[in-house]
Subunit: 332 residues, 2 copies
């Protein structure tokens, strides 16, 4: 295992120290393991909290800031955070208008966020939950009942975050987040596996001429293992899966993310984006907004995930609203 770390045991704590040092606009509670905006709660505003295992950076800590999340709860690498973290986050950022938990659909995360919601309720904090389950590759998987939550998380956090910033109430913020999730689909292909610091060896084996089709963000098995294909074929089979699950018609507007899994050079993501753009153009489906880069990663895994959100005018307007976080920033 070759990693730029001090020790497998200290990765999360060391990284949080780095986040704290690098971003004065964030506050990092290294004991509770909660990242919040430095300014404290937004009084009268709904607060968005997300979290999950580490190893997917910039998700979620890189999306804390005005216009997006109020708090992130990082677990150990590929391990759910615990309810106490989420409770501490809720207590830290609740501005009196309640908190929204944005939860990727993995059994551990779902269970722990549910317990945290009960604890926060006992504490007098109103909680709504948005469950993200956008990955069309498989139903039920290693760590999931139902579909896995992946790239749509970025869209949910951005768009619901913008609505919260505008002063919408808890039900409205939760509702737009659920609508974004319902309108989004993702599919990923891995060219290599990744290695968690604790395991010290790759999570699965792929031959030099193979790829994992429909892989999960922890390297969970997908639909099939295939011979490596050109970017055009990888994109086509991914978008075929997405379009089969949610048909899109000529004139539909979308937000599209071409996301690197951590070890893919940016030049290759642009090669993939060219294929995506051609696929959409052939069908007359519009890409109204796009992201190309590393937004939800799987450590150093090579590969790409595609996320497509069928966006209405409200979603696009909220997408364009100012955001100021370490990993996503515009208009601010």
């Amino acid at each position: 295992m070759k990693k730029l770390i001090n020790s497998p045991d200290s990765v999360l704590g060391d990284a949080l120290a780095g986040v704290a040092a690098a971003h004065p606009a964030l506050h990092v509670d290294t004991e509770a393991r909660v990242i919040t905006r430095a300014g404290g709660p937004s009084v009268g505003r709904v607060a968005l909290i997300s979290g999950g295992g580490s190893g997917h950076e910039p998700l979620h800590g890189g999306f804390v800031g005005p216009g997006m999340l109020h708090a992130a709860c990082p677990g150990e690498v590929f391990t759910s955070p615990v309810p106490d973290q989420m409770l501490a986050a809720a207590q830290a950022v609740n501005g009196g208008a309640g908190v929204v938990f944005i939860v990727k659909n993995y059994t551990g995360d779902v269970m722990n966020f549910e317990m945290a919601a009960e604890l926060a309720g006992d504490d007098g904090i109103e909680v709504a939950t948005i469950l993200v389950d956008d990955d069309v590759a498989v139903k039920d998987s290693t760590w999931t009942a139902g579909r896995r939550g992946t790239g749509a998380t970025v869209f949910v956090e951005k768009i619901a975050g913008a609505l919260a910033e505008q002063g919408a109430d808890l039900a409205e913020v939760a509702e737009i987040g659920r609508r974004v999730n319902a309108a989004s689909r993702s599919f990923a292909v891995a060219l290599t596996a990744c290695t968690t610091p604790a395991a010290g060896k790759p999570g699965f084996d792929l031959a030099e001429d193979e790829m994992e089709v429909g892989v999960g963000i922890h390297g969970e098995p997908g639909r099939s293992r295939e011979k490596l294909e050109p970017a055009s074929a990888i994109v086509a089979r991914s978008l075929d899966a997405i379009f089969a699950d949610q048909p899109l018609a000529a004139g539909d507007q979308t937000i599209v993310m071409v996301n690197g899994l951590g070890g893919t050079p940016l030049i290759e993501l642009y090669v993939a984006y060219a294929e995506v753009a051609a696929y959409f153009a052939e069908r007359g489906v519009q890409i109204a907004r796009n992201l190309v880069g590393n937004y939800i990663t799987s450590l150093e895994m090579a590969g790409v995930s595609l996320t497509v959100c069928k966006a209405d005018a409200q979603m696009l307007a909220l997408w364009d609203a100012p955001v100021n976080t370490p990993a996503l920033r515009w208009g601010a």
Copy 2:
């Protein structure tokens, strides 16, 4: 070789198609292989042009936009662009106040930009050149006479770009760029090699327990090959080399970049940043601004480069000025 590409021959063209599709604020001349701002030349403003081999994305195309570059000339992977590209760029973006070529110190780039400067001169375009040579690891290397140009390029492009935006003349823009380069030092360590599409195999071999200390951005040999060390030791030996070359005293202000070489998970870059912050704090040297992420990469190489610029008040103010490019955006 596992790459998300269509063919080794078409990588650059395919990626440029993706850049064009993803970024409506950019104009991509796919024939001349020049990326410019979509709005055309900035009349009366000095125009900044950079370029170099591809494989270092987001450098340079990702830094084209208001507040930074006017044009980028991408060569094939790890191969200098040709003078015709730079001339086409100069003709496309010259707003009547001259153009600045920002050139990383590699023999091919230097020669080709020199020829382009002559051609542009013949065409009546005034040209000034900023040579970037910030890598303290080695003097003379595989493709370089003198020091290699690496991470300081990002600082030069940002700071000189901001001054050009304010209406400074050609001499002033060139002068601040040269001062930023003179005030900057870099050092990189590779944990793995990278593979160019054309070669199809890694540029060098590193054993499972080895790292290349002082590596160049094309995988050029560094100072030594060592046993893999913890992040704290890797950062200390890199900063020792930087501080030995340019002593920094308590109270000095700096801009620091912790840059991933393409295959390093972001969580590890934050582990490294924590070590950098501690090293600076021990010496009382201030990190006034920082970047943590992938800004000048070597395809999928795992490893990190550190760049430190001893910044004066003017440099910091120009750093903070609005910038709106695909890879660097704030205040806009």
